[in-house]
């Protein structure tokens, strides 16, 4: 079995196009940086060295220091952990129940579909950012509350995507065959239909991941997200804005990591859609 899996992955890898390969490599590097953060630096991200304020990038401080004497490089790579975690939770948790709602909605149709879709419309009707700010103003700032706010509204896109695909898929013969074979509804929806329709959601989730990181970065920039002194890319960009002219490295380098992560994820998304997108496959009929 395991040998099978390895062979399958090897085969798949051959089919990966350049975008996908580069994207995965970059993202993997970022992931490793986050995982091995403590081993990559001898500094503590919160330690304030008043003898080393606002130092430019040097051999001792690869990314320089900020106005509290904290090593920027250390803070950036520790922030990697936080940002990746945030991106992951804000993307994949809503994906799970968004997909479930969309799948049931598309499969059953009728009143279930109507109710679910009106629910989706309601959730989508709120301007995302304003809603989040509103919730945060009630609950107070902080990562946990951002999660709550995002979980309330981020699922709608996935519901829509899956519902659209399910509407088409449920009429296909193999689904009808599964019904005729007596399989239960849940098995049909999740074991039979889902693997074939989940692709667009996965691709979308790559872009969603990026956007969510940017969202949290933006909120942190506004002061609503992560509270100091926790290192988070967006927060660091915000903290450095008073020093842009004379200590550009405080804002720019964390910003660069945001860019790099976003870039890697977009490449993966593009690569996946090239590989799995139905419109991109052409059949030659002879």
């Amino acid at each position: 079995m395991k040998l099978e899996m390895i062979n399958i992955i090897k085969d798949e890898y051959k089919n990966f196009n350049t975008n996908l390969k580069i994207g995965i490599i970059i993202f993997f590097i970022i992931l490793l940086i986050g995982l091995f953060a403590p081993f990559l630096t001898q500094y503590d991200p919160l330690y304030q060295d008043y003898n080393s304020l606002l130092l430019p990038p040097s051999f001792n401080h690869w990314f320089g220091t900020d106005n509290y004497g904290r090593d920027i490089f250390t803070r950036v790579i520790y922030a990697t952990r936080l940002d990746l975690q945030i991106g992951f939770y804000t993307t994949y948790v809503p994906l799970i129940y968004g997909v479930m709602i969309g799948a049931y909605s598309g499969y059953f149709g009728g009143s279930i579909d109507t109710i679910m879709m009106r629910l989706t419309d309601t959730a989508m009707a709120f301007p995302f950012l304003i809603l989040i700010i509103f919730i945060l103003s009630i609950l107070g700032p902080g990562i946990q509350n951002i999660y709550i706010a995002v979980f309330l509204v981020a699922w709608t896109m996935y519901a829509r995507l899956i519902r659209a695909e399910m509407l088409v898929e449920k009429n296909k013969d193999y689904i009808v065959a599964a019904q005729v074979l007596g399989f239960g509804t849940n098995r049909i929806i999740f074991k039979h239909a889902m693997p074939n329709i989940i692709t667009s959601c996965i691709i979308f989730s790559m872009f969603d991941f990026v956007l969510n990181i940017l969202l949290v970065s933006g909120l942190s920039f506004l002061g609503l997200g992560v509270q100091p002194p926790i290192p988070e890319w967006g927060a660091m960009v915000a903290e450095g804005r008073d020093f842009i002219l004379n200590a550009w490295w405080i804002s720019t380098l964390p910003g660069f990591f945001i860019l790099l992560t976003g870039f890697a994820l977009c490449l993966i998304g593009d690569g996946l859609s090239e590989r799995f997108g139905k419109r991109n496959q052409y059949t030659v009929s002879v």
Binding site: D173, Y174, A177, Q179, V180, L181, G182, P195, N196
Partner: protein, 330 residues
């Protein structure tokens, strides 16, 4: 011949309707209803292969989907082995799936694209034969593949690496995995090349004999029906307009549509170059079934009566009936 009747269908009606939109609601318009299957009677003997012929809109697919429980039955009674089936029962699907199975038309969409051949069969076997262990299931899957003429080195392949004929065989194997008594085939060879068609049809005939499997074969090509079936039902716009033994139907057709169908068939006869089309006009929409005899828009020998009164069932002989006012004149 006192063959047991495995299936008896009486007055089957299947309807589809267009969902009411807000405008319909405001203007109090009634739902538009399509009578996909209109008052159909059919009897099938055990071990028989019965053919159901019809073009698009004839209702043949709706009929078989209703039998397996996919389409809702408006009214009608269906008897299986002399016992009435109650399609409204909660767990009726459990029963139906063990007795009736279906083979689909399109080999490209009838298999799950992300499941290998082996897994497709294993899943069905595990679900239906709960008392078998993994080893037995694996062996039974191999047996099934053998039964349909597929080699074992295909078991780890996914449908996209299989040809049309191979996929169709997998579909047949999947249907046979539950050990059904009755197989419904919805145009099983239409999408296949001629030489592959011949292979699949031979296979189906063998299975019918070997496993004593009753079959209801839907097709639109009369030659296939002639090869496979003993009796033929001809459907038009939801109704069986003629039914009988195949020799009767092909050599002594008693309905203008049947005659038109037989004459439209392209034959390998190069002499027939100069002729007019056998049947004019288009098939009417199922939403607007013509009043009187539903075939009156295309029939060459319509008389006044044909536009006003719907024909009744007329028996030509014990096993051959038709729905035409003027069948004697044919």
């Amino acid at each position: 011949m006192n063959s047991k009747k495995i299936l008896k269908i009486n007055n089957l009606n299947v309807e589809f309707f267009k969902e009411k939109t807000l405008i319909n609601f405001i203007f109090r318009q009634s739902k538009k209803v399509v009578k996909a299957v209109d008052d159909v009677d059919l009897e099938i003997d055990e071990g028989e292969i019965i053919g159901l012929v019809g073009e698009s809109g004839s209702g043949k697919s709706s009929l078989i989907k209703a039998l397996v429980g996919v389409n809702k039955i408006k009214n009608g009674r269906i008897f299986y082995q002399d016992q009435e089936i109650n399609y409204k029962k909660r767990d009726i699907k459990n029963f139906l799936s063990k007795q009736f199975q279906m083979v689909f038309q399109d080999p490209y969409s009838s298999l799950n694209p992300s499941m290998t051949v082996l897994n497709t069969l294993k899943e069905v076997l595990k679900f239906h034969h709960t008392n078998m262990n993994n080893n037995q299931i694996y062996n039974k899957a191999l047996n099934l593949l053998d039964l349909v003429g597929l080699s074992q080195d295909l078991i780890h392949r996914k449908p996209r690496s299989l040809s049309g004929g191979q996929r169709q065989r997998v579909g047949i194997a999947r249907a046979l995995a539950v050990d059904p008594k009755f197989l419904l085939l919805d145009e099983p060879v239409t999408a296949l090349d001629v030489s592959i068609q011949a292979q699949i049809l031979n296979l189906l005939k063998d299975l019918n004999r070997k496993l004593h499997l009753t079959m209801l074969l839907v097709a639109h090509e009369l030659s296939i029906i002639d090869f496979m079936c003993s009796k033929v039902a001809v459907m038009y716009l939801g109704k069986i307009i003629e039914f009988g033994y195949k020799d009767e139907i092909f050599n002594n057709p008693k309905h203008p549509y049947t005659i038109g169908l037989i004459n439209s068939m392209p034959k390998l006869n190069p002499e027939k170059r100069n002729r007019n089309a056998a049947l004019m006009g288009d098939i009417p929409s199922a939403f607007q079934i013509p009043k009187g005899c539903r075939f009156n828009t295309r029939c060459a020998m319509t008389k006044d009566k044909c536009f006003k009164i719907e024909p009744e069932k007329k028996y030509i002989n014990e096993s051959h009936y038709t729905f035409c006012h003027f069948s004697d004149e044919l």
